[in-house]
């Protein structure tokens, strides 16, 4: 299996002219994630709220109502960014037939540009990437032992101890 994957990787470079194995698989979102100057972590409700039903006394990220804001230091923000752009954390072929149940949202900002990654944790590990404009959205499957959820959990559990 591993041998085959290496072989296929080699083939993709040799035959398809790719520069490296598994580059650029996340599409348009990657550049903004990689170059973001601000990363914010939120705990959010499971389902988004339609704009007309949102209330002024609540905060929403990509229409998901925020339950809690989790502060991150620069090292944690970097770890989250690395995990968010690591293609190994995403299954680009297979999808689970389970409903997306949001729990966390990561908001990456660069100037006025924003992209939010909403996370449905295991056992229905999925991510939904949403541009601030709402014009573009990408659904992604998280791999079973992805480093993104692990990075979030590490920050959240540290936060719980501080409290």
């Amino acid at each position: 299996m591993v041998m085959l994957k290496l072989f296929m990787c080699l083939l993709s470079v040799v035959l398809l002219g790719n520069k490296s194995c598994n580059s650029g698989a996340l599409g348009d979102f990657v550049n903004l994630l990689k170059t973001s100057d601000k990363v914010e972590l939120f705990v959010v409700e499971a389902f988004p709220t339609a704009a007309q039903e949102q209330t002024l006394d609540a905060t929403y990220v990509a229409d998901y109502k925020v339950s809690e804001f989790i502060p991150t230091d620069p090292a944690e923000a970097t770890a989250l960014t690395f995990a968010a752009v690591d293609v190994k954390n995403f299954d680009l072929i297979n999808v689970k037939n389970c409903p997306f149940m949001a729990k966390y949202a990561l908001r990456f900002s660069k100037g006025k540009d924003r992209v939010t990654m909403v996370i449905s944790p295991a056992s229905c590990g999925k991510a939904r990437m949403i541009f601030a404009s709402g014009a573009k959205e990408k659904n992604l499957e998280l791999t079973p032992e992805n480093s993104l959820e692990a990075a979030i959990q590490k920050i959240v559990s540290k936060q719980a101890i501080v409290k």
Partner: protein
């Protein structure tokens, strides 16, 4: 769309290997290649399903005409966002005399954007890589007796089966003409109900693909059997719980009718749920919250259909059965109180659909498990069901068609597709079923 980027050869083979194309005539492929020494090879690839296929390779060497049989398994994956399909060869066996030399089985590699596949008999050495000379799906007109005899001896079971499949047995054509209407079929209608979440962002494409495969398959079966066919599709914006309930209310099968209900979408279980069967998530938008108005118990659907008194009732749920952090809004008692090319082997079809009665319910995952799909091919369980159905009614299979074999093969097929060896990121799904089907009389 990604699908449009796939080359025709890759698309056809990927679909066939994994998703079971619906036309028997396209179960056969011809592959031609030339090795580094200039020896020309002609292969006949015969597909049963993604885990069972073989290729007969004919070539001249040592002043002999040789035919070797190589078994194949497929692996479908992606590298750098490009899809690939590898058919891994093993167990070479000479059909003719072997001569002095053996045969290293070839691995066949299909890549996106490449019309013809690559071959190698050594995955560790890219210098041995060959580009095929030609690859094509064979049609009925290609399959003649001389063609088959290039690869088979006349006493082989598969040779005889392929002759029957392609109507090459003149005796059978003249003595036993195919009849579309007969005493078995009179007054029988097949009701196909599909609820497919074709609009949802993550799995919508896979659901649409399964819907197309299922409707083509069952329509073809009904035509082949000469029975009536009614189709009820709940999809797109109409994918709602009331739409399913309304469809079930209007479904009135006769006592000799066949009802097939297939659900393709998200599934889950309440965190306090006792029953084994999943809740069908009847939402087509993430903005709709999960609740009483959107969840439907597969077991309720089964009981509802069973109570209508059709002769044969098949209820399939291809969805997850994993827990969500929400309790059931209903008590169990309240819930229970709610009450194309038709080249099939007709004898086997009749055994399944006309000479059987009873009820069968199956779902793709055990309690606590997720089930899997991919956009190119569909749900692992639905794909496995279609593969198993086609295998069960294939000319190439000698034993009698049987629903228990079919559903066992479906569950095992989906389990195999989700196993680490085939899908490295998947967790294994173990489908479950309730079986109560007996011969009609």
């Amino acid at each position: 769309m990604r699908k449009q980027c796939l080359t025709r050869a890759f698309y056809i083979l990927a679909a066939l290997c994994f998703a079971a194309n619906l036309l028997p005539a396209q179960d056969l492929f011809e592959l031609k290649f030339t090795d580094k020494l200039g020896v020309k090879y002609k292969g006949l690839l015969v597909l049963f399903n993604d885990s069972k296929m073989y290729m007969r390779v004919a070539y001249n060497a040592e002043n002999m005409y040789k035919v070797v049989n190589v078994d194949y398994k497929s692996e479908h994956g992606t590298t750098d966002g490009s899809e690939y399909l590898v058919l891994m060869g093993s167990n070479p066996r000479f059909i003719t005399q072997s001569g002095q030399y053996g045969y290293n089985p070839d691995h066949i590699i299909f890549l996106e954007k490449q019309e013809k596949p690559y071959l190698t008999d050594d995955p560790n050495d890219t210098s041995k890589l060959l580009h095929a000379d030609a690859f094509r799906a064979l049609t009925k007109t290609d399959i003649t007796d001389p063609y088959l005899r290039e690869f088979y001896s006349s006493d082989e079971a598969d040779y005889k089966a392929l002759r029957r499949m392609f109507n090459l047995d003149l005796g059978s054509l003249t003595l036993k003409p195919k009849t579309n209407t007969n005493t078995y079929s009179a007054g029988t209608t097949m009701h196909l109900v599909i609820a497919a979440n074709t609009n949802i962002g993550d799995i919508g494409m896979s659901c649409a693909r399964d819907q197309a495969s299922l409707t083509a398959e069952f329509k073809g079966i009904a035509t082949s059997l000469g029975i009536g066919y009614k189709q009820y599709l709940i999809n797109g914006d109409n994918f709602t719980k009331p739409a399913v309930l309304n469809t079930l209310n209007t479904l009135v099968p006769g006592s000799n009718d066949v009802v097939v209900f297939v659900y393709r979408g998200h599934g889950f279980r309440w965190n306090d749920q006792q029953g084994a069967w999943p809740q069908l998530d009847m939402r087509s938008s993430p903005y709709t919250r999960i609740g009483e108005n959107t969840a439907l118990d597969l077991d309720f659907v089964f009981k509802n259909i069973k109570a209508k008194g059709g002769r044969l009732n098949i209820v399939l749920g291809d969805c997850c059965n994993s827990s969500i952090d929400i309790s059931s809004p209903l008590t169990g008692s309240e819930f229970l109180a709610m009450q194309a090319n038709n080249n099939y082997n007709d004898d086997k079809l009749r055994a399944l659909f006309m000479n059987s009665k009873g009820n069968l319910m199956a779902t793709s995952a055990s309690p606590g498990e997720v089930s899997w799909a991919n956009n190119a091919n569909g749900g692992f369980f639905t794909v496995s069901f279609l593969q198993s159905l086609r295998e069960e009614i294939s000319f190439l299979r000698e034993d009698t068609a049987d629903w228990r074999d079919l559903i066992n093969n479906t569950v095992n097929g989906a389990k195999r597709k989700s196993s680490k060896g085939v899908c490295s990121n998947c967790t294994v799904q173990n489908g479950i079923y309730h079986y109560d089907v007996t011969p009609k009389n």
